[in-house]
């Protein structure tokens, strides 16, 4: 049976489209969902995928023609199949009507009758087939997808000269009084009126009427159970994206000064038992940014923006099967040594799962160092109820133009993703400018 290709509705108010190009010619083979033609409207240009696999039997609307949505464009089917170009087009899903507009006559017979139906059989058809010992494959179906309907069976029986036996109505029979309308006696015992005959009156041999083809399902693969951490991350991410309108802004930062500072102080820190990592520099720079834009160290409430006095910075640490965000408490009160010591301690204990519950709570802002896995910049999701998250990309040497000379500088993209309910783009850029100024002028 051939399948219709219909001009789709390409937008809420778009009622027509122009066939700009056919990607398949008549007689060519096409796979379901493969692009079949290009359609343009005053709003969009798009490809229309094939509704079915088969051969392009006939192209009805030529390139350059503009037609209303719902118009029959072409037929796809088996080679040599005959098409009925006057068949009314099948309605698309997007085709709905306002309540007060008249609805034109629809198509009650969606497909042409066909023989050898192999699909679902409704109870009444099964019963009639059993009663009259019919082979349903011999009956042309007029229902959806060629399903054999009760009327088809009745028509078949009439054509065979066998009138459909009228089963006497079983429902006007002996109903118990509380189900007999109008008796007014609602409270009779339910037991005494039941007879075994009634229970078995309709039982018929379990005759198999027609084999039903199983519906093929994709089942290759395996199911990975959700860990509690996976589930918690999923919940947090979905909640956050639903709660805050996320906006991300990105600055590129020249890390020369910070790297120089680290190189000159590394040994001294090491003597105090602290490995001086760049993360400590980013945490301190973020503190500067938060002081410049206090609304980023805050919480949205319906009554107003609640500015938080202490600065507690969460630091995302990747684990084997997830991530955890330990919190550097009172980050604003720490110097570089204290920051580096805390960062190292929290990260080490995060990886050995030795964090205490309150060490992963109470953050007022977060940093994620996605650059460690090679990412240049990213658009992280805000850790609710915080207002922002800073992302640090991979540091690499880049060619920069400085004072009209080409220089090689270690650079990193640093992003800020913020809740646009609380601050606007300019404030987000002020934050990153503070971060940049601090890192590029570290002394």
């Amino acid at each position: 049976m051939a399948t219709q290709v219909i001009m789709p509705q390409l937008g809420e108010s778009v009622v027509e489209g122009t066939v700009s190009r056919w990607l398949k010619r008549e007689g060519e083979t096409v796979q379901a969902f493969e692009p079949l033609l290009e359609v343009s409207t005053d709003k969009v240009d798009t490809e229309v995928p094939a509704a079915a696999s088969g051969v392009v039997l006939k192209i009805i609307v030529r390139e350059g023609q503009t037609v209303e949505r719902g118009t029959l464009l072409a037929w796809i089917g088996e080679p040599g199949e005959v098409t009925d170009d006057h068949a009314p087009p099948v309605r698309g899903h997007g085709d709905h009507h306002a309540a007060d507009t008249p609805i034109p006559a629809a198509v009650s017979q969606m497909t042409a009758p066909q023989a050898a139906y192999t699909g679902h059989v409704t109870p009444v058809v099964a019963r009639m087939a059993a009663q009259h010992q019919l082979d349903l494959a011999q009956i042309a179906g007029s229902g959806r997808d060629g399903r054999v309907t009760k009327k088809d069976v009745e028509a078949y029986l009439a054509a065979q000269g066998q009138p459909a036996a009228r089963t006497p109505s079983a429902y006007a029979a002996d109903l118990p009084p509380w189900e007999r309308p109008g008796s007014g006696d609602l409270f009779k015992s339910t037991l005494e009126d039941q007879t075994p005959d009634e229970m078995t009156a309709h039982a018929s041999p379990n005759q198999r009427v027609h084999p039903v083809e199983p519906i093929p399902q994709v089942s290759e693969g395996e199911l990975v159970a959700l860990t509690p951490m996976r589930r918690a991350i999923a919940d947090h991410m979905v909640t956050s994206r639903r709660t805050s309108p996320h906006v991300t802004t990105v600055f590129e930062i020249d890390m020369t000064a910070a790297l120089h500072h680290r190189a000159t102080h590394r040994a001294a820190f090491s003597q105090q038992g602290v490995n001086l990592t760049l993360t400590a520099y980013f945490v301190m720079a973020a503190v500067d940014g938060l002081r410049a834009v206090p609304a980023l160290n805050a919480r949205w409430t319906d009554d107003g923006i609640y500015l938080l006095r202490p600065i507690h910075i969460g630091m995302a640490v990747a684990l084997d099967h997830g991530l955890i965000v330990p919190v550097i408490k009172h980050a604003g009160d720490l110097n570089l040594l204290g920051t580096a010591r805390t960062v190292n301690d929290l990260a080490a204990r995060a990886r050995t799962k030795a964090l205490k519950p309150d060490e992963v709570q109470g953050g007022t802002f977060s940093i994620t160092n996605h650059g460690v896995s090679g990412s240049l910049f990213a658009t992280p999701i805000i850790n609710q109820p915080q207002v922002g998250i800073m992302g640090v990309g991979m540091m690499e040497k880049r060619v920069k133009v400085i004072d009209d000379m080409i220089a090689i500088r270690p650079c990193a993209y640093v992003s800020l993703t913020f809740d646009h309910r609380v601050i606007d783009g300019a404030a987000g850029d002020s934050f990153l400018l503070s971060v940049k100024n601090r890192l590029e002028n570290w002394t």
Binding site: H97, A99, D100, T101, P102, I103, P104, A105, A106, V107, S108, Q109, M110, T122, P123, V124, V125, A126, R127, G143, R144, R147, T149, K150, T167, S169, A170, Y171, A172, L175, W178, E179, R180, P181, G182, S183, G184, L186, F187, H202
Partner: protein, 329 residues
């Protein structure tokens, strides 16, 4: 035969029953001097006096409680709840007392009580003047529930309700109070029995089950698809929701093999679910298509904004679409 409005049919029924039986009396908010907010009892206060048309306090629990007490004392109360939306304070009286007394007293006490309440949306009444409450009570054995859709049925069924020895909840589609007109016999003794459904339109292709305003919308939809699609749709106006006329339901499905149940209330656990269950249980071998429900969306209330109310409410066009879809299965 005279053509009158739905509200006039109800008023006549009460007038005639009060004239026939001195035990019949009316109580409710504003039913007396004001004649009811919808004027259902207009003129009855002047005709029968303050002792038989009694203005109540603004307390639905007490309206029904007074009715139950009076019914136990051999009177025939008609209690009016001004809007079905306000029946909930009386839920305990209806469900725990009125519905159970006959059973609880082993048949020694009867509660011949009628509770009238306008129900349903589409009247720009918003949250508290649009609700459909029939499903709450249809779950309760011991109650009868009637929802008429025509003046003929409204008058005949209300008279039967007054004469019935059981508690009857009589829900009136207020949207049709003045918009629905129809012929009513001049004979004051005609009644319509509580129980049987009405075949509003005979057909062979699809059965549509509805009540109240939806019976009218379904009939209009049936006319449309008859004209445009050549579909022959049977419309059953259930009109008594409890007890359920299973015979009518199953006989119609036996004829058509396809059932669409339309109710204005929100979908989940609505009255139509029970009709669908009856068809699935007792009519399985009759079915040529899945049983379908068309109902209001599962939101807390009928919205006030006109376009939102339009979205919530069913209408003939929505029913037409559902009929076509079911007929094409």
């Amino acid at each position: 035969m005279t053509s009158i409005t739905l509200i006039e049919a109800l008023r006549q029924a009460m007038d005639e029953e009060m004239a026939r039986d001195p035990r019949v009396f009316i109580t409710g908010e504003d039913v007396g001097k004001r004649g009811g907010v919808f004027r259902a009892t207009q003129g009855l206060y002047d005709k029968y006096g303050a002792s038989r048309v009694i203005d109540s306090p603004l307390a639905e629990l007490s309206i029904v409680a007074v009715g139950i007490g009076a019914a136990l004392a051999e009177l025939r109360p008609i209690c009016e709840i001004q809007f079905a939306d306000f029946i909930h304070p009386a839920f305990n009286q209806i469900v725990n007392e009125a519905a159970k007394l006959y059973y609880r007293s082993n048949g020694q006490w009867r509660v011949p009580l009628v509770i009238r309440a306008p129900y349903g949306g589409g009247v720009s009444g918003a949250l508290y003047h649009s609700q459909s409450v029939e499903a709450f009570f249809a779950h309760v054995p011991g109650l009868k529930i009637v929802i008429p859709s025509t003046p003929y049925d409204a008058k005949g069924l209300l008279k039967s309700a007054v004469r019935d020895p059981n508690p009857v909840l009589f829900f009136e589609p207020k949207r049709g109070y003045r918009s629905i007109k129809g012929e009513v016999p001049d004979d004051t003794e005609y009644t319509v029995p509580i129980g049987p459904a009405r075949i509003a339109r005979e057909g062979r292709d699809v059965s549509v089950f509805a009540y109240g305003m939806m019976a009218h919308a379904a009939a209009a939809a049936a006319e449309t698809v008859s004209r445009t699609d050549g579909l022959d749709v049977e419309v059953i106006d259930l009109r008594t929701l409890l007890p359920i006329d299973k015979t009518a339901v199953l006989s119609s499905v036996e004829k058509t093999g396809r059932a669409l149940i339309v109710y204005e209330d929100n979908r989940t656990m609505g009255y139509g679910a029970e009709i669908a269950a009856i068809i699935a249980e007792d009519g399985f071998e009759l079915l040529d298509a899945p049983v379908r429900r068309l109902a209001g969306p599962d939101v807390p209330a009928v919205p006030f904004a006109p376009h939102m109310q339009e979205y919530f409410m069913l209408n003939a066009n929505k029913i037409v679409t559902a009929i076509r879809d079911l007929a094409a299965y």
